[in-house]
């Protein structure tokens, strides 16, 4: 019978673990401590009842949501912006060695936080898989989705999502080993092509190569982590992906590779918000576009303060500075977006203009501006006037 006390001890210990486990779900939510009443003390399961109370409180916010200005009000009340992002996409969204998110998409989350809250660090990233992004956006768990998401008609139409001004124009490309003798897509007859499964990349390739009468064998992978060694080990001759990703790998692979000139699809990537809150959509849209407008004006994080005294009324209006009208009255123009007048100033001084964001994240990967150059410089980055 000496085993019984031992066993009871083990059970007691497991019980202790169980209690600790249930404790943590609220560890992140310190406000709950003050909300909860004495009744919840008796059993561990009452923690859920506690959650119920919190949910009721939030239920009132839901009504506001329906009324139209929900997300902005919710973000302001919360004090942080919740972005859906990527944590494994080179250049766009990664976690660096310090455990911090960084990348092109992450910087646009920063832009939005600076515009709405005046603090470019007041944001949280929720890393999402490709399959999770739209359900998560619909559930309201994130305020905005900035995760290399291609704008397509079917997504706009059936995912209850509103796509906003693209931050990056990508396209599907092909990469081969330099010694393969393949110079264009037409040489890729009867090859094996490495591709990620479950992406539009595979569908595009089937359609376009099928139309062109190029026969090939697709070799599918679930992540670049497994695809890359296969390509290096010559399990496939061609690697297809978004051109930006191919450029990133081309710059870092130990073998000599060539990105083919053929681009077979349009992949405009940009921020996405849930349907049903047009004010919030406009805010995200104009915050994004402000970075491009700033580049057009030649304003960057280094020189933005010198523009505060600019002679150009367009720039003054853009930066939220008082502008004299015809009668000599000076006033700060409110464009009526629900944003602070100086939102563009906050964006540029805290994060930077489009060129700065691009150069910080994508130039190191070996990416050219290409179509993402300003319209004045041969690209297609063109935004409506800030008037």
């Amino acid at each position: 019978m000496s085993s019984t006390p031992m066993l009871r001890r083990i059970l007691a210990m497991l019980f202790a673990f169980a209690l600790v486990g249930s404790a943590c779900s609220s560890g992140d939510d310190t406000s709950e401590a003050t909300d909860s009443d004495g009744n919840t003390v008796t059993t561990a399961d009452d923690g859920n009842g506690d959650d119920g109370d919190t949910d009721n409180g939030d239920g009132e916010e839901t009504i506001e949501l329906v009324q139209g200005d929900g997300v902005l009000a919710a973000v302001q009340a919360r004090g942080t912006l919740k972005c859906g992002g990527n944590d494994t996409l080179p250049g766009f969204g990664i976690i660096d060695a310090d455990g911090e998110f960084s990348g092109f998409d992450i910087d646009f989350c920063r832009v939005l936080a600076a515009a709405v809250l005046g603090d470019s660090e007041a944001f949280e990233i929720l890393p999402l898989t490709a399959a999770q992004r739209f359900p998560t956006l619909q559930s309201g768990e994130i305020d905005v989705l900035i995760r290399n998401t291609t704008w397509t008609a079917s997504r706009d139409g059936s995912e209850q999502a509103t796509f906003l001004h693209p931050t990056f124009y990508d396209g599907q490309g092909f990469m081969v080993r330099s010694d393969s003798g393949i110079a264009s897509l037409d040489d890729a007859q009867n090859t094996t092509i490495c591709v990620l499964q479950g992406t539009t990349t595979l569908l595009n390739m089937n359609a376009v190569l099928g139309d062109r009468g190029i026969s090939f064998t697709p070799l599918e992978f679930d992540s670049n982590d497994t695809l890359q060694p296969a390509f290096v080990a010559e399990q496939c001759e061609v690697w297809t992906s978004d051109a930006s990703q191919l450029a990133a790998f081309a710059a870092t692979l130990d073998i000599d590779v060539t990105v083919l000139p053929d681009i077979i699809s349009k992949e405009p990537l940009g921020p996405v918000v849930a349907d049903g809150d047009s004010q919030w959509a406009q805010i995200v849209d104009w915050a994004t576009m402000a970075t491009i407008q700033a580049e057009e004006f030649g304003i960057n994080s280094g020189n933005v303060d010198s523009f505060l005294t600019s002679e150009d009324s367009g720039i003054l209006r853009f930066l939220g500075q008082p502008v004299e009208d015809g009668d000599g009255n000076s006033a700060v123009a409110d464009v009526g977006l629900g944003l602070p007048a100086d939102f563009a100033y906050n964006i540029i001084s805290q994060v930077g203009n489009y060129a700065e964001i691009f150069e910080a994240n994508l130039t190191p990967l070996g990416l050219e501006r290409g179509p993402n150059a300003l319209w004045t410089e041969g690209g297609i980055m063109y935004v409506p006037p800030f008037r």
């Binding site: 404790a23 923690g47 839901t62 976690i95 130990d254």
Partner: protein, 475 residues
């Protein structure tokens, strides 16, 4: 002092039963090699061929491990350990780990002393476990800590690990020497340290205060039992009052911390396993009892739950937590983090598996046990608690630890739903600019595999030790 049980023959000569142990088969090394490796010509040949293969493999692996660039694990060590935990708050996970080690060490010291004393009182031969015994129990974990810390680039982690290892061995001695009053409450000592460690991480507010309140209530209730107080009002009101006081005091302190949504890496992996076991086991026991119930509704509900959860792969449940669970929350409300939702489903998953294991244990207890208990007038609750459950659980400990190990490894599926656990940092670190396209996956996944292996191996060794301790298989 002579134990009366042993001197039971009446003529003053102690009756000592010497068990007949089989003759030792230990051979001197030379003879062992001859008997086992070179007993005849074809065995010798097989030995030589295998030796060549093993030497080749070992050379290859060692050469690879030395030649390969481990910079990626060095740079990302913190990611692998705690993920994106705020850098200037790293004292929290350190303090938590050290407090939990201290608690475990003190608790185990105290508990093994208490067992020792019980054994001595019952005349069972028992010696104090040596430090070497302790090392034999924990060497995989000790080795893993040293392996992990060998990638550190600054001094504090080395100090932390050294303190942890020294503490593990030193505090056990302290635990062994604790006065009997504290020693007999080793579980509560452990629980107190566990809670303190958790408080360092997640703060004192919220449910932590509730849990502490419950533990204090349980402590007070046990103490009242020990003191022999049976007055109804005191037995009920005392623990509740003590629990409430603890809750309000801790809430009032209001120390802030970081909940699990800010954690990552190995922390998440360990934590998800601990929660899966600690919440899954109690639920599993309830489900197992429910499944054997005579009440049709309860029985059917338990059967449906168990069979449904066991009938779908864990990854399906995790995807369910990611995609469908938010729909169960009222629109626009806080749907809780992805990890919290995943933990709900992991709990359900492990509960269903534990339930079936426990049911197997319950069925192994002869019906006569229950009937004898009924005949002696015990209440149904007491029969379960004191007669059936202890025997049932004792019989299925190996199966339960097997399930725990499986769960530990299964938590790597969290990566599929985008949770940055230990496994996911393999992919994350390979997408960083410095390491992109360098083909370092073999390095990171070797690192990860060693992490999983050490803990899983330690758990399986602990299970074997428990088996021997509880004398499972000896009836």
């Amino acid at each position: 002092m002579t134990d009366p049980l042993i001197t039971a023959t009446g003529d003053g000569v102690p009756l000592v039963v010497e068990p007949n142990t089989p003759p030792s088969k230990k051979l001197p090394p030379g003879e062992w090699v001859k008997a086992n490796l070179f007993s005849n010509w074809y065995n010798s040949l097989v030995t030589l061929v295998m030796a060549v293969i093993l030497i080749y493999l070992a050379r290859f692996l060692i050469g690879w491990a030395i030649g390969v660039e481990w910079q990626i694990t060095r740079t990302n060590l913190r990611n692998f350990m705690v993920g994106g935990f705020p850098a200037d708050e790293l004292w929290r996970p350190w303090a938590a780990s050290l407090l939990i080690i201290a608690g475990a060490s003190l608790g185990f010291g105290a508990m093994s002393r208490a067992e020792h004393e019980t054994d001595v009182r019952n005349g069972i031969p028992s010696t104090k476990p040596t430090q070497l015994d302790l090392f034999r129990r924990f060497w995989p974990i000790v080795l893993l800590s040293i392996f992990f810390v060998s990638f550190a680039r600054t001094t504090p982690p080395f100090i932390g690990v050294a303190v942890g290892i020294v503490g593990l061995f030193a505090l056990r001695e302290v635990g062994w020497r604790l006065p009997a009053v504290i020693r007999d409450r080793g579980v509560f000592v452990f629980a107190a340290f566990l809670l303190a460690g958790f408080g360092c991480l997640a703060g004192t507010g919220g449910l932590l205060a509730i849990v502490a309140g419950i533990i204090v209530a349980v402590l007070v209730s046990t103490e009242l039992g020990r003191a022999g107080i049976t007055t109804r009002a005191v037995v009920i009101a005392g623990p509740i009052a003590a629990g409430l006081v603890t809750y309000f005091v801790l809430s009032a302190i209001g120390l802030e911390g970081f909940g699990w949504d800010d954690w990552g890496g190995f922390h998440i992996t360990i934590f998800a396993t601990a929660v899966g076991i600690a919440t899954g086991l109690p639920f599993g026991i309830l489900l197992a009892i429910g499944r054997r119930s005579n009440l049709p509704v309860i029985k059917t509900a338990c059967v449906i739950f168990i069979e449904f959860v066991r009938g779908v792969p864990l990854i399906t449940l995790l995807l369910f937590s990611s995609f469908m669970l938010p729909l169960f929350f009222p629109a626009g409300s806080d749907t809780r983090s992805g990890l919290t939702r995943a933990m709900i489903l992991i709990t359900a998953f492990s509960a269903a598996y534990f339930a079936e294991i426990v049911r197997g244990g319950l069925q192994s207890v002869p019906k006569g046990q229950t009937e004898a208990a009924q005949a002696s007038g015990m209440s149904p609750g007491a029969i379960q608690r004191l007669i059936v459950m202890p025997q049932a659980l004792r019989n299925v400990i190996p199966a339960m630890v097997g399930q725990a190990i499986a769960l530990f490894k299964d938590t790597s599926l969290l990566a599929i739903i985008g949770i940055a656990d230990f496994f996911q940092y393999g992919e994350i670190s390979n997408t960083q600019q410095d390491f992109l396209g360098k083909g370092l996956q073999p390095v990171t996944y070797t690192f990860i595999a060693l992490g999983y292996w050490a803990v899983a191996y330690w758990m399986s060794r602990e299970s074997r030790r428990l088996e021997m301790k509880l004398r499972v298989g000896v009836r």
